[in-house]
Amino acid sequence: MIDKAIDGAAAAVADIHDGASVMIGGFGTAGMPDELIDALIARGVGDLTIINNNAGNGEHGVAALIREGRVHKIVCSFPRQSDSHHFDAAYRAGKIELELVPQGNLAARIQAAGSGLGAIFTPTGYGTLLAEGKEVREIDGKYYVLEYPIQADFALIKAHKGDRWGNLVFRKTARNFGPIMAMAAKTTIAQVSAIVPLGEIDPEVVVTPGIFVQRVVAIAPAQIAVAA
């Protein structure tokens, strides 16, 4: 019997190693898998490359990883926020490398990796600082920038419900990068509010098919009240 359910966040992240590349879902705090990140911090590994839309908010999640000095490089679109003080301090001290990527290019490059594409040509960023030094091609009279896929060793994402085959549904805007990160990592670990029996998720509404998910961990929502 195939059972991708893992008991507890610590067991789910037990093989994440020093130097690993880790995609982390979430847009701000919506969809941020805080408990998986806490377990990753507790493992004590470092020199990580983190791929996330932001560079942490407040004291939790990605911000805590940066605060603890575990992040060597971050790939994101919007690091600077009112409560990104841990990133700001690390960046100004030269302790963290930043690859700034326009948000749509970030999504497209992650999706490209998950789709097996060698590269994409995107119009976003053409003629700007963020395309400097990159190959440009004119296609049908419009200019495009060559961008390469972003893949990762692991993806930590947060979904609403999952089953033992790894099928997932998400909740509201907490979906954001979850489905595409699940495709782009060698090992995708999903924390869900509940693991339900096979068949309980309507096959017509599965958002992420289980083929993209290797581990599912049930973590009861702590801070967020989930409506029925």
């Binding site: 679109s77 919007f78 326009p102 497209a108 999706q111 053409y126 489905p179 967020i224």
Partner: protein, 218 residues
């Protein structure tokens, strides 16, 4: 002259958003436009973090922090609205499906180049978010900004000096003093506030602005 305040500017932009339009309002000043869209006009508000059919802020105490906008504020979903992931969201822009986006700006050039993501100061921490995708992706990109900086310099310029967000992407600029259409042949004044004339507008912007007599008061 009758300089528009920010709410009047938002109301002016709202007048140009037709029924059925798919619209993304940028963070900051453009967010105000939503307050002036008439309730009877069905307009689809998109937020790049994955929702279409975005509604107003919830009542205090009713916030759901898994239902937020791009500015990470709590919002609601209108009946008929839906959720999607980030790749689909940006495909809506780049793929030419989104009709209008309204953005703020540091500078806009008369040919429609936009600078709104980075001041270029060496100690600034850069952050771009979805600005570049929105600017070049929507069918029409509107900018909403005060025409002059606090120092009195025009933010509508011949060539942007701040780092660019996108090239030739802005078609119209709404300001507190005038509305401009932009294109390959330069800037054309569409409307001015009462008490302002074209010579004064040319003087304060330092630009060779095209003007047709049809330009009406805002």
């Amino acid at each position: 002259m009758n300089r528009l305040n920010r709410d009047q500017m938002a109301a002016r932009v709202a007048r140009d958003i037709p029924e059925g339009a798919y619209v993304n309002l940028g963070i900051g000043l453009p967010t105000k436009v939503a307050n002036y869209l008439p309730a009877e006009r069905e307009i689809f508000m998109q937020s790049e973090n994955g929702l279409l059919g975005m509604g107003p802020a919830p009542a205090p105490g009713e916030e759901d922090w898994e239902l937020i906008n791009a500015g990470k504020q709590a919002v609601t979903l209108l009946t008929g609205g839906c959720f999607f992931h980030h790749a689909d969201s940006f495909a809506m822009m780049r793929g030419g499906h989104l009709d209008i986006c309204v953005l703020g700006a540091f500078q806009v050039s008369v040919h429609g180049d936009l600078a709104n993501w980075h001041t270029g100061e060496p100690d600034a921490i850069p952050a771009v978010g979805g600005a570049m995708d929105l600017a070049i992706g929507a069918k029409q990109t509107f900018v909403m900004m005060e025409l002059l900086t606090k120092q009195g310099e025009s933010k509508l310029v011949e060539n942007c000096t701040y780092p660019l967000t996108g090239l030739g992407c802005v078609s119209r600029v709404y300001t507190d003093l005038a509305v401009f259409d932009l294109g390959p042949s330069g800037a054309r004044v569409v409307e001015m506030v009462e008490g302002l004339d074209i010579e004064e507008l040319r003087r304060i912007t330092g630009l060779d602005l095209a003007f047709t007599k049809a330009a009406e008061p805002v």
